[in-house]
Each structure stands twice: as structure tokens, then as C-alpha cells.
């Protein structure tokens, strides 16, 4: 490495998308520079096991911080991006939960690990119901990459998926269903609910992250240079060619301004940070669609139930335990009158405690209820597709900057009747199925959490074949600049109900291999 070296590829972001790009590109021989906005998280240095009473706020979320990170508590408060340090704005009536991690490895350190493929019910959704746009690729295009990603991430599951949830390259889950799950499956038949084994990345050594499954492979090549605490201000453009040629960044701690040069720029900073960077850099937006079609999934609606036979200490492993995924079952073989697309249900049978808020009582009577119901919990929670709408968008707020003087994002998005009706349907169906299975419904909620809560924000640089109707081509390359790629969730054309991680990884792998082959052919 020399000072002012021009790298083959500049990768901005170190999570799943950036980690995969680094692995594939360095293994292809490219010299890569990776910039990450935050520090390396070293659990031995930065974390310690503590009792809640040892913390200043007894485990409560530190007041006034992280107002829009519902997932935060006092234990993990310092891993999230501080809303005062990196603010964003939104209309008061439509709050947005932007949940961010800037540690090296990004959100890949903390994700829930649910691992699903999109199906052609998502890739070709417009062809089925007329809404939005089809993706320029199909499941067949992505299947080989999904398979390799599933191998790397050691995804467990069973080959039990219906067409709307394609099977994959799984560590096979052959655990028998518990009786409570079998009762749920039987009761769900009237709604044609396919009840399948959960699909979850096991990872290695207890972690399924970019930092242990992707970046080590890149480092082994000796071709990856990584810089932590590098907050990218904007991409730079060659004055002669008009093509991106690097970036300006600022050191997070010293605020020193720096510049990196590269022949190719890969954005992997996470959907909205990549989009913010493009908008602040004023490039790649000849379509005018950068920032448009922000999507995610509705979370927060669901039910908490109790299996009566498991109460009073009678829960057994035969009766209770296990989880299931009910992939989308609405608008598959029939058509709903109240919404397009559909939702999945996460179903969990638990031998653990039932939270006190499920009982409208207090004191000694509440204590008796808690003990009586312990071990009998059965949960259903929704993951529902949010439609891609032009008006749901982000743009730069020129009147506000972050701690490094970088203009912030203004997020303007809201759920429509389609999403609200979907949530209502999920709770009605869930209640009916629970009662048919003989469960008691303790509490339910049909109101989704604010947009963004699922941490599955996708879109805003959607891919497509038409440069006027999309930002990226089907290889995640900018229509405007072939040496500029966006390999995170920003490229999604529709959201689906699925956790997007497997798709982000597969798209990044596919885009990176294509990029490497184009370079080798001399096309870039």
C-alpha cells in the first residue's frame, strides 16, 4: 500500500453486503479498500456481563436517547447509532424508526438470522397482481447464489416449503413437532396455512456475521485494507470522465478530512445510508428515483396465547416448544378483497414465562397468574409485505447536518390501508386458529409498529431494465455509471414478507462476481 494508492475497488460498509463484496472481489484478485463509519466491536474490551441493578438506569433505556430504537435497552444502548449524533428528520405525524449500527460488521452482528429466499411471487409480483414493477431477475437467476450463501451461513431448515418459500441448501432440521405446534398446524388447515420449520442461519461458533463468515476470507487474500471510523461525506467524480473515482471521508474521532481513490465504487452502507450518500454526492440519479419506493415489512401486530394443558407446571417438551414459519398464504390460490400481497407468521411455542402485561391484574393475584401460566406461552407475530410506492421516499434535508457536518436524511413514508388491513387480517386469522387449537388468547394487537421498526428497509435505488424507471440494472450497477454499484437492500424492487438478508447476500455475491468478470474482460 502506498499513500494515495488508487484501489481497484472502494467498498463503503462492512455488513453482510460489503463483507460479501469484499470476499468475492478480493478472491477474484482485486485490491479493495473498505471504509466503515464506526469502530471495531471487541467484546472482550467493550462489553462485560452485569446485573441490571449495576447500571445507572436499572436496565431501562437511557432516557432521551434512541427514542426510535424500540429494540434498545440499557445493556445494548451503546451499539446503536445515536439519534443526536446522526439525526434524521420526518413529519411529526409520520415517525420513522431508523435503526442503525455503525460497528464494524454493521447489523450483521445483531440480526435475527431468519433466512428466507424470495420466490417468483415476489420477483414477478407485478405480473401476478399488476402492482409496482417486476424485478429484472427471477428466482432461477439467484438460486445458485442463494445456495452458496446458505452454505456459508449454515442455514437450518426443512425441505418443506411451498412454491412461495423455495427450499434451499439447508442443515436439515429433523426435530419432531411438539403437540402444541401440531394442534396449530391442524387448526390452520382451514386457511390453507402451510406451517413450515423455521429457517435460521446457525453461522459458526455462535455467530453468523460478516465479521466471522465473510471478512476473514477477504483478509486471507491479503488484498483487503480496512479503515474503521471512516465516515464518508460524499463520492468524488473524475472531472475528465465524469465517473466516480473515490470518496471524501472524515475521521469519526478527529474529524480529519481524508480522500480515498478507486477505479470502482461499491456502496454497501445499508439501504438508507447508501442512498443518502448518492443524494449528497448528486450522482447516479438521472432517473430521479434515488430515494423513491422506500419499503420494509410491517411488524408489531400479533397475538400472545396460552396452551391450557401446559399450565401449573405441566409443560413438557412433547407438548411445548419449537417454532414455525407460516409463509405467505394470502393471495396465493385465492384473492383477498382488502389487500394485495400478504404476510407471514412467526409462530413460537415456549416453555418460558408469560409476561405480566398479559394479565389485567396486579399484586398477589398477578403473581399467581404468572406462576400458573408459566411454560404455556404460544406467540404469533406478523411479517407483512409493504408495497413500494413512489410517495414513500427519502431526500436530503439541507437544513440539518450530523456531527460531521454531513446533511441528514428526511424520511417521508407511511403505511397505507393495504398494510393496515393486512395486519388486521393476520390478527383475526391468528385468533381464529388459536381458538380452534384450544389456546386461550391473552393479548393481541393489530396496529403495526412505525415504519422502519423491522430493520428491513429496502428499495430507494431499485433495480430494473429501464433506466428511466429504475436506478440500478440487474447487476446492481448504476444505469448512469457502470463503475458504481449498490449491493445492499437499496436495490430491491419489491420487499416481500421475507427477512431480506439472504437476498442481500445473494445479490451482492452475484453482482460482485459479475463485476469481477467484467473487469477481467476489460469492459470496466
Amino acid at each position: 500500500m502506498t499513500i494515495n494508492e488508487v484501489f481497484d475497488v472502494l467498498i463503503i460498509g462492512s455488513g453482510h453486503a460489503g463483507g460479501m463484496a469484499a470476499k468475492i472481489l478480493t478472491e477474484s484478485g482485486a485490491h479493495c479498500l473498505m471504509l466503515n463509519a464506526g469502530p471495531v466491536a471487541d467484546v472482550a474490551r467493550d462489553a462485560q456481563h452485569k446485573a441490571a441493578y449495576e447500571l445507572p438506569y436499572r436496565g431501562f433505556k437511557p432516557p432521551g436517547r434512541l427514542e426510535h430504537v424500540f429494540q434498545a435497552n440499557e445493556f445494548n444502548a451503546n451499539v446503536w447509532v445515536d439519534e443526536q449524533q446522526v439525526p434524521y428528520t420526518f413529519p411529526a405525524e409520520n415517525p420513522y424508526n431508523w435503526v442503525r449500527v455503525r460497528l464494524f460488521g454493521g447489523r450483521s452482528l445483531f440480526w435475527s438470522r431468519q433466512s428466507f429466499r424470495l420466490s417468483d411471487y415476489e420477483f414477478k409480483a407485478k405480473s401476478r397482481d399488476g402492482f409496482g414493477e417486476d424485478w429484472p431477475i427471477s428466482h432461477a437467476d439467484l438460486a445458485p447464489y442463494y445456495s452458496r450463501v446458505e452454505e456459508i451461513f449454515q442455514v437450518s431448515g426443512a425441505m418443506d416449503g411451498p412454491p412461495q418459500m423455495p427450499d434451499g441448501n439447508f442443515v436439515l432440521d429433523s426435530e419432531p413437532w411438539s403437540e402444541s405446534m401440531r394442534r396449530f398446524m391442524e387448526a390452520g388447515k382451514r386457511f390453507n396455512m402451510p406451517v413450515c420449520k423455521q429457517r435460521r442461519a446457525l453461522g459458526r461458533d455462535g455467530l453468523a456475521s460478516s465479521v466471522n463468515l465473510l471478512l476473514p476470507d477477504a483478509e486471507k487474500t491479503g488484498k483487503l485494507i480496512s479503515i474503521a471510523n471512516a465516515v464518508v461525506r460524499e463520492l468524488t467524480v473524475d472531472k475528465n470522465t465524469g465517473q466516480p473515482n473515490g470518496c471524501h471521508f472524515v475521521d469519526r474521532l478527529t474529524h480529519r478530512e481524508m480522500h480515498a481513490k478507486a477505479r470502482i465504487v461499491v456502496l454497501a452502507a445499508g439501504t438508507l445510508e447508501s442512498t443518502r450518500l448518492l443524494l449528497n454526492s448528486k450522482i447516479g440519479n438521472s432517473s430521479g428515483l434515488v430515494g423513491r419506493y422506500l419499503m420494509d415489512q410491517i411488524y408489531g401486530a400479533g397475538l400472545t396465547c396460552s396452551v391450557p394443558e401446559a399450565r401449573n407446571g405441566k409443560a413438557t417438551r412433547e407438548l411445548m416448544g419449537g417454532g414455525a414459519i407460516v409463509p405467505r398464504f394470502r393471495n396465493i390460490d385465492s384473492k383477498s378483497d382488502s389487500f394485495l400481497r400478504g404476510y407471514a407468521l412467526n409462530v413460537t411455542s415456549s416453555m418460558g414465562p408469560v409476561h405480566p402485561r398479559n394479565f389485567a391484574t396486579y399484586g398477589a393475584e398477578l403473581q399467581r397468574k404468572i406462576e400458573e401460566y408459566h411454560g404455556s406461552a404460544f406467540f404469533m407475530t406478523i411479517m407483512g409485505e409493504v408495497l413500494g410506492r413512489y410517495e414513500n421516499h427519502v431526500r436530503i434535508n439541507k437544513d440539518k447536518v450530523d456531527a460531521w457536518g454531513i446533511p441528514v436524511l428526511h424520511v417521508e413514508t407511511q403505511y397505507s390501508d393495504n398494510e393496515f388491513n393486512m395486519a388486521k387480517d393476520a390478527v383475526e386469522v391468528g385468533s381464529t386458529v388459536a381458538e380452534a387449537a384450544g389456546f386461550e388468547v391473552l393479548s393481541k394487537n393489530a396496529v403495526p409498529n412505525p415504519p422502519g421498526y423491522s430493520i428491513h428497509e429496502v428499495g430507494t435505488c431499485r433495480m430494473g431494465d429501464d433506466p428511466k424507471r429504475s436506478v440500478l440494472n440487474n447487476w446492481c450497477q448504476s444505469h448512469d455509471h457502470k463503475n458504481l454499484l449498490v449491493v445492499d437492500g437499496a436495490s430491491f424492487t419489491s420487499a416481500g414478507w421475507q427477512n431480506p438478508t439472504m437476498t442481500i447476500l445473494a445479490l451482492s455475491m452475484r453482482a460482485s462476481e459479475h463485476l469481477a468478470s467484467e473487469v477481467n474482460k476489460g469492459n470496466l
Binding site: Y53, F70, E74, N76, A228, L253, G300, N445
Partner: protein, 238 residues
């Protein structure tokens, strides 16, 4: 090796003038800079002093709620979570005083919910029983509270004002009590009874090695002690 040699040369260039200055200072009779490198000897063998959490052994100052609001909160806390089965109740865990601190540090909307809720509860008691909430007997308290209790799911407390306050206050009082030191000292050891604990992440605003480099305390550039190539890289069968 070339790079390491270069770094050593750079260090000597930076250090040499300081050493010369130091010698010159000595000749003029000025005392040597003191204290002598003060971190010398701080190492993993250094015994760490034992400390305690302040609010478990000292009294904190009440600052936010008025005396009347505090009296209502004390009664409410005692009713919602009294001492049960050998476990401390909310009062033994000093939950009301902790909530005075927590709510007093909170955004205005949360403060308003508590202040308005406590005032409303007291007004209801005065209206129905002609006495403050703090002086109601258990039957009267139960008649006041029960109609407002709801079941609810995480992140979705009831939205109506009174239900919102009663149910959130109930949740907060339980959490503050179960997370107290008093509670942790009485747990039985059974998994379902374990004291709340977890992996606490310290602030990562500053990385020690970077801070020492930019503080100028040594005047020496940061040099990695371990060459990059010796980092342990996991290898998995694929």
C-alpha cells in the same frame, strides 16, 4: 521490515528533540517534569479497587415529583408490587425514588404522562372517597385501579390517557423492582427466578489506542503491537 524500520526512524526523529530539551532543562537547574510516567506499573496484575453501586447504599435526592405526587406513587408502587413470598416489594427496592430520578431525566412527554396520571389518580380519590390516594384502603384502591387495567402487547400499550398511565406505570414499577439489587439478593437460583442481567456494552466513542495517539501525551505515533498477519483468522470447512 522496511516499514518497521521506517517507523522506528520516525519515532527517533520525534523523540530526539524532546530528549535534548530535557537535558538542557536539567542543566539550567529546573526540576524534572513530575510525576514520572504515571501509568508505569498499571498492568493486568494491578488490583482493582472494589466499588459499590451508589443507590444501593446511599440515599438519593428526590427532585422531580411533588410531595403529593410522590405520596401517590409510593402507594401505587406498594399496591402494584407488595412484598410477596419472601421477595422485596417495590418499596423495599426503593422503586419510587428511582422512578423520580428516571422520569425526572426523561423527555417531556413521559414526564407529563406521569405527572398528569398521578394528579388524576389523586383527584379521582378525592372525588370518590374525599381523601388522597395515598390514604385509601386496599378495597378503595382496587376499585379505582381495576377498571383501567388492560392486557397489551409489547410496544403497544393502551392509547387512552388513563389506561396508558396505569398500565405503563405498572410495567415500570415491576421492572424497576425486579431489576433492583434488593430483588437480586433474594432470588432462589432457579432459572425462572434469575436476577435480570446481560452483556453490557460500554460506550465505544473512543478507542483507547486511537485516543492515546491523538492526545499527544507521548508524542509518538501509534504502532500496532501485533502484526496484522498474526491475527487469528477462523477457518471453516466448506
Amino acid at each position: 521490515m522496511l516499514r518497521r524500520g521506517f517507523v522506528r526512524a520516525m519515532i527517533s526523529v520525534i523523540v530526539a528533540p524532546r530528549a535534548l530539551l530535557s537535558q538542557q532543562a536539567g542543566k539550567t537547574g529546573l526540576p524534572p517534569p513530575a510525576p514520572v510516567p504515571w501509568t508505569l506499573g498499571l498492568n493486568p496484575k494491578t488490583p482493582l479497587p472494589q466499588t459499590e453501586v451508589a443507590d444501593t447504599i446511599t440515599e438519593s435526592e428526590q427532585r422531580f415529583f411533588t410531595a403529593a405526587q410522590m405520596a401517590t406513587l409510593v402507594r401505587l408502587s406498594d399496591v402494584f408490587l407488595p412484598p410477596l413470598e419472601g421477595k422485596p416489594g417495590a418499596l423495599q427496592a426503593e422503586t419510587p425514588v428511582f422512578l423520580d430520578f428516571l422520569i425526572g431525566s426523561s423527555p417531556a412527554s413521559r414526564q407529563a404522562m406521569y405527572v398528569d396520571g398521578l394528579n388524576w389518580l389523586d383527584a379521582e380519590a378525592q372525588s370518590k372517597y374525599k381523601r388522597p390516594f395515598a390514604k385509601l384502603d386496599d378495597v378503595q384502591v382496587d376499585a379505582l385501579l381495576k377498571p383501567w387495567l388492560r392486557t397489551w402487547m409489547n410496544d403497544h400499550p393502551p392509547t387512552e390517557l388513563q389506561e396508558n398511565f396505569i398500565n405503563i406505570a405498572h410495567d415500570d414499577i415491576r421492572t424497576a423492582t425486579l431489576n433492583s439489587k434488593a430483588w437480586s439478593e433474594t432470588v432462589s437460583g432457579e432459572p425462572k427466578d434469575a436476577a435480570p442481567s446481560g452483556l453490557y456494552w460500554y460506550p465505544m466513542q473512543f478507542q483507547p489506542e486511537i485516543c492515546s495517539a491523538c492526545s499527544g501525551s507521548t508524542g509518538m505515533p501509534h504502532v500496532k503491537a501485533v502484526p496484522k498477519a498474526s491475527h487469528k483468522i477462523p477457518s471453516y470447512p466448506r
